[in-house]
Subunit: 153 residues, 2 copies
DNA sequence: TATTGTTATACTCTATAACTATA
DNA sequence: TATAGTTATAGAGTATAACAATA
């Protein structure tokens, strides 16, 4: 009966099999991006999803929660929580829809548009920072690849 | 006092500001990949993280949990749970280390190596499927970009 | 003192089921 | 009947704090 092998403490851990998968590399790159984005948004009291929701509400005044959910690819039930948080911060209001009494018309407040403008600039800086080691053509190629992958889903 | 605007129900929701961010496109592509990967691994009783952990244990026999955590970029505390699950499935064993009595030497069992071999083939198919709309140079460019982004973190 | 594995805990993201009021 | 917003709940991923055993 052989003694079980022990991985040497000084040898690097081989992750060659995982690195062969594009998805694994994307998950790791995404981890770096998400960590930096969370740091970027924290001073504004926003998280990735509340920032995204605020962006869509600012750009589409009167948007309904159900359409916001579809645009974010999340369930309606979760959007309720994000809008709750944005409303409690005073950045978004829920007005009754005049066309469908079941629905709401989401509006960004003046404070909401202001925090969004500042956060958006910070996030744009963050995104440029993440692309720093890449040439313009590489960023363009990355964009194309990501959109094609998403579209194939 | 103006009546609040209401986004027309038939108009598309504009996400132009978010689409300008590479990170947003990556998050959405990652969502598509993760959903397909979860479906791929489900029949094997594996999830993304247990599959990744199993892969590293198979390829690095005798690996310590603390090094596994570092390789996966997760906390030691979480690795405990993944190894628990792999151990309960009979795919991984925790042997005492002969060199450091605090540590464990993780080993894949025969059943673990077998399920890994089958899951790995299915995951490789999944990864190719995700890259289906891309030419080989585009995949190579994507790989390069992702690794550079991760390295900059 | 520092590190290893561990437990407990908490927060975020995501999904499903079920309710209500409208359509 | 179907849909919009909502509530409650649960699973998965991730992080921190604290502990016992060992270095």
């Amino acid at each position: 009966m052989a003694v079980p092998a022990e991985h040497p403490a000084d040898a690097p851990v081989s992750d060659a099999a995982l690195r062969a998968l594009v998805g694994y590399n994307m998950k790791r790159a995404m981890g770096v991006i998400q960590a930096d984005l969370a740091r970027t948004l924290d001073p504004f009291g926003l998280r990735m999803l509340t920032f995204s929701a605020l962006s869509l509400i600012v750009e589409n005044p009167g948007l309904r929660p159900s359409r916001l959910a579809a645009a974010l690819s999340v369930e309606r039930a979760n959007v309720v929580v994000y809008v709750d948080q944005l409303e409690q911060a005073g950045w978004v209001s829920r007005a009754p829809s005049t066309r469908d009494r079941r629905a709401h018309a989401l509006q960004a407040t003046l404070a909401g548009r202001r925090v969004y403008a500042r956060a958006r600039a910070a996030v744009a800086d963050h995104d440029r920072r993440m692309m720093n080691g890449l040439r313009a053509e590489q960023v363009a190629a990355l964009r194309t690849a990501l959109q094609r992958i998403e579209g194939a889903g």
